[in-house]
Amino acid sequence: EDKVVQSPLSLVVHEGDTVTLNCSYEVTNFRSLLWYKQEKKAPTFLFMLTSSGIEKKSGRLSSILDKKELFSILNITATQTGDSAIYLCAGSNNAGNMLTFGGGTRLMVKP
């Protein structure tokens, strides 16, 4: 059975701190790893990673995939209170039809 595990479960930091969120996966016929941000309602897409070692970056957020060690990290630099959310990662298989979601990391950024 496919499995995605995220750590830590929750994290409290202060504005300006840098955080690293972890995601390990066991997905049969793995193809891609996706990161989402979920605030009060629905998850919004952040990144999709398919290649090992290539960093994807969007503003203060960046992510990288290690297909040998089966994990990904999401980095957020200079955190702001608006970064407070649950961050979800999900693995996709090569059929691309299903996502296996992790349990999420709840990030709280204090002023």
Partner: protein, 116 residues
């Protein structure tokens, strides 16, 4: 990004009522999904569809049913609502195979259902 809509956004209803949660997307996505999520908990896939007239049950057993008569529309129905159905229901869709974002699921805003 996909334009995906869900109605109603909030619903409070009594036990035993039949309800239909609506989900529509305007991007021509062939794949559509329904997830159930309790507050602070994981997403659980309850139904999915790969295209018109295709529906499958997901990992989490659900008493709901779905239909896919049109590409853009994927409604979820509960024949007889119970308090145990109280949850958030999220609809998602993803593009056809072959494109750069084919694995990406785009989520609607969700329907928060409370059954009294």
């Amino acid at each position: 990004e996909a334009d995906i809509y869900q109605t109603p956004r909030y619903l409070v209803i009594g036990t035993g009522k039949k309800i239909t949660l609506e989900c529509s997307q305007t991007m021509g996505h062939d794949k559509m999904y329904w997830y159930q999520q309790d507050p602070g908990m994981e997403l659980h896939l309850i139904h999915y569809s790969y295209g018109v007239n295709s529906t499958e049950k997901g990992d989490l057993s659900s008493e709901s049913t779905v239909s896919r008569i049109r590409t853009e529309h994927f409604p979820l129905t509960l024949e007889s609502a119970r308090p145990s159905h109280t949850s958030q229901y999220l609809c998602a869709s993803s593009p056809p195979a072959g494109g750069p974002r084919t694995d990406t699921q785009y989520f609607g805003p969700g329907t928060r259902l409370t059954v009294l």
